[in-house]
Symmetry: C2
Subunit: 446 residues, 2 copies
């Protein structure tokens, strides 16, 4: 291996896993042996399994672990689910579970699939007469569908495929720029590979058609790129809860009416103020992403989709809405979600497979409803905390336990710390100092 400086390397990807670790441990750490051991302790004993995990990505040297938890008692469209969640942030699973239970006795969540249309685009530049292109568009469409029939055959058998091909003239925004916007149905798969394969073939096919069509004078068309869009406003699920206000019960420091009004106000604020909307929606994605991760779906796709949707009217706003009418509290959200329950890593990741089993082998449509319900539950729990006790009480208690665990506090110390930090500020250093003092005291007295 050639080295350009002590910290750079050529041919790294071709090294074995052991060699990779060795090079990293030698060049980026002082305690080479300890680091090597530490990176290897997370390897799976089962070599086949480890090979599968390594194959998901590249240059892999270890496994990064996240807690895999569950939120039971989720009632969605009358079915009861125990929902798998993968997340590193404390309070998220507890909040989802708590909201699930709250709504368990109030009819649960309703989820309704509005539509499941996925989107892809072929972007191209061309200097010809648009009317010529437009007049041949029916023939072009037929050609594109014919040329991709071998790719779409299986998907068509499952009830999916290409739904619509639109030709968009974008030259008002950018010279010579046109677009094919293509709608797809991909059934239970997320469909990224399917859509991209079709679109790339569409690109080649379109270029060929234009070059060989007698009625189109300008023969030279440049395909800039062909790829799915992660923005799918028509792959949308609506999820909602509702209750008579009097059935909402009591809340810390306030009755149901006051709670409903404060909650309603909080949603209004997240609708009008982008600074609040960002955090509000972030909370929704705390719930959503935890299920997306647990089912090995793609959280970057889900995030980009949802946030673009939140900005669709020209201002970034809350994804969830609330109404109080005739004594009924209603809380709901429309959110675009593109997920798969077959294909991708869903079968390949051993725990993602278990997650889907835990959910009863849902269809993609059913999973959309489950994920949206967890997002709405998370949002309900977060806003409920915010407008009643505030979130810090719960958060800091969690943080205290994390730090105490990390500092290997024993039961006696945990008890003392819990009492002490009821009325003292919690930080890593304040907890460490408290424990140090306790331990010194104990040594002195022993």
């Amino acid at each position: 291996m050639e080295q350009k400086n002590s910290k750079s390397i050529s041919g790294f990807s071709k090294l074995s896993k052991d060699e990779k670790i060795q090079w990293i441990a030698q060049h980026f750490y002082e305690n080479t042996d300890e680091v090597t051991k530490d990176l290897k302790r997370f390897w799976q004993a089962d070599e086949d399994l480890q090979k599968t995990i390594d194959g998901f990505s590249e240059n892999t040297i270890s496994n990064f672990i996240f807690p895999f938890g569950v939120a039971p008692n989720f009632v969605i469209n009358g079915e009861t689910y125990c929902v798998p969640m993968v997340i590193e942030e404390s309070s998220v699973v507890a909040a989802a579970s708590s909201a699930a239970k709250f709504w368990f006795n109030r009819g649960g969540f309703k989820a309704e699939i509005i539509d499941t249309v996925k989107i892809g685009q072929v972007h191209f530049t061309w200097k010809g007469d648009f009317e010529q292109l437009q007049s041949h568009f029916p023939a072009i469409q037929q050609q594109l569908l014919d040329d991709t029939s071998h790719i779409t055959a299986n998907m068509r058998k499952r009830g999916g495929g290409v739904l619509k091909i639109e030709l968009l003239n974008m030259t008002d925004s950018e010279p010579d720029y046109y677009q094919l916007r293509v709608s797809f149905e991909t059934c239970d798969s997320m469909g990224a590979n399917f859509i991209n394969s079709v679109l790339e073939e569409f690109g080649r096919s379109l270029k060929h058609f234009i070059a060989n069509c007698n009625g189109i004078e300008e023969k030279d068309c440049t395909i800039i790129m062909a790829i799915l869009s992660n923005y799918t406003p028509d792959c949308l699920v609506r999820v909602s809860v509702e209750s008579k206000i009097e059935d909402l019960g009591q809340f810390p420091g306030m009755d149901a009416v006051t709670f409903a009004q404060k909650f309603h106000k909080a949603i209004r604020i997240a609708t009008i103020d982008p600074y609040r909307a960002t955090t509000h929606n972030k909370g929704i994605f705390n719930g959503i992403d935890a299920v997306v991760l647990a089912t090995a779906n793609d959280f970057r796709a889900i995030e980009a989709n949802g946030h673009t949707y939140a900005a669709r009217d020209g201002q970034y706003r809350s994804l969830s809405s609330c109404s109080i009418e005739d004594g009924t509290f209603r809380f709901w959200m429309d959110i675009p979600l593109t997920v798969g329950t077959v294909g991708g890593l869903t079968k390949l990741h051993p725990l993602a497979k278990r997650s889907l089993e835990m959910l009863g082998h849902p269809s993609a449509r059913e999973l959309m409803g489950i994920i949206a319900a967890v997002g709405l539950a998370q949002n309900f729990a977060a806003v409920r905390s915010l407008v009643t006790t505030g979130i810090q009480k719960g958060h800091m208690k969690m943080h205290l336990m994390n730090v105490l665990n990390h500092l290997s506090a024993n039961e006696e110390e945990i008890e003392a710390a819990t009492i002490h930090f009821e009325c003292h500020h919690i930080s890593f250093s304040s907890v460490r100092d408290f424990l140090d003092a306790k331990r010194k005291e104990k040594v002195l007295h022993s």
Copy 2:
């Protein structure tokens, strides 16, 4: 434990980990024993370590593993880094590594911190005369700062704290609604707990001030909520690369000038079309989130922040920009990033700690630059693929290997499949069918 129906439960969180698994395995799976074994095989042998991981979240029953990889050869501001990345999507680490190497020989990435201001808000309703509130605002500010001095003491020692408190009259958008918008500097910590603790105290303090101030007639103010904002347009990093076009080299099927022009066009398209912008930015976050995960920062916060920023002018647009001037190709991005290198899970997660060590114990500012550079690298690699070969060739090759691994293909079978699928469509079923045929053939001939 009381059971409302066979799939619901009370007191679940109080069960032991073994009891939790038992209940889930019995109620949501047919193969109870196998599932129990499978969930436990991901537990860490080191009990203290497992306890730490369990403590991050709630209702934990297992660990979810992601491949932990690295992208070497990242030159940022003259320093060479090997960047840890955690991601389940194939090609992301390979793309980042490839882009890092491409720019390694062309001066690397430049990262510049524009500012590091974090934001928090106290939202309240009040029915009084705004001028009275405004005229007392200097005194209110002093009171808020005094009342939180015990919380801010440590942060102030480190050079951070409360920078600014603004009183915003939001009654034009919503009746009786006002806001304190507070700016913070949180140094090397992400600062969520710090900011939230200060804001909740601000809320109590404000309510108390209004209730007891002689010059303010309306005594009753309702604190709706007090919490940080994840939208921080002034916690911003700019990252860039540049090269003379002639130094860009050759690309598959095109020279450097054609490449630069197509690349530039692709960025323009992502700037004007939200459908493309969503996917374009999703690619940026593929890189960003992988480092955010590896350093145990909060990717939901990072995503919400960046996407809101992408929509700041009223249309959702590309985060990255490109220019070609005087023969120079320049590619850059401004992106808000709130990350910590102390506090939170950064010390508590054993591999996050190793990630930060691998990066040379960066400050939060340095980590902002590293993360932004990986995002830009990812974007460069993705767009480079899109405008040259298309992305499917690489993706499908990866997918083929994943499926072959999953189906335990041997070396001979892998070789045969690689040749066969050069010119056949790759899907899980087509690969399985190919292998089945090969294996039957072999049995027949043996």
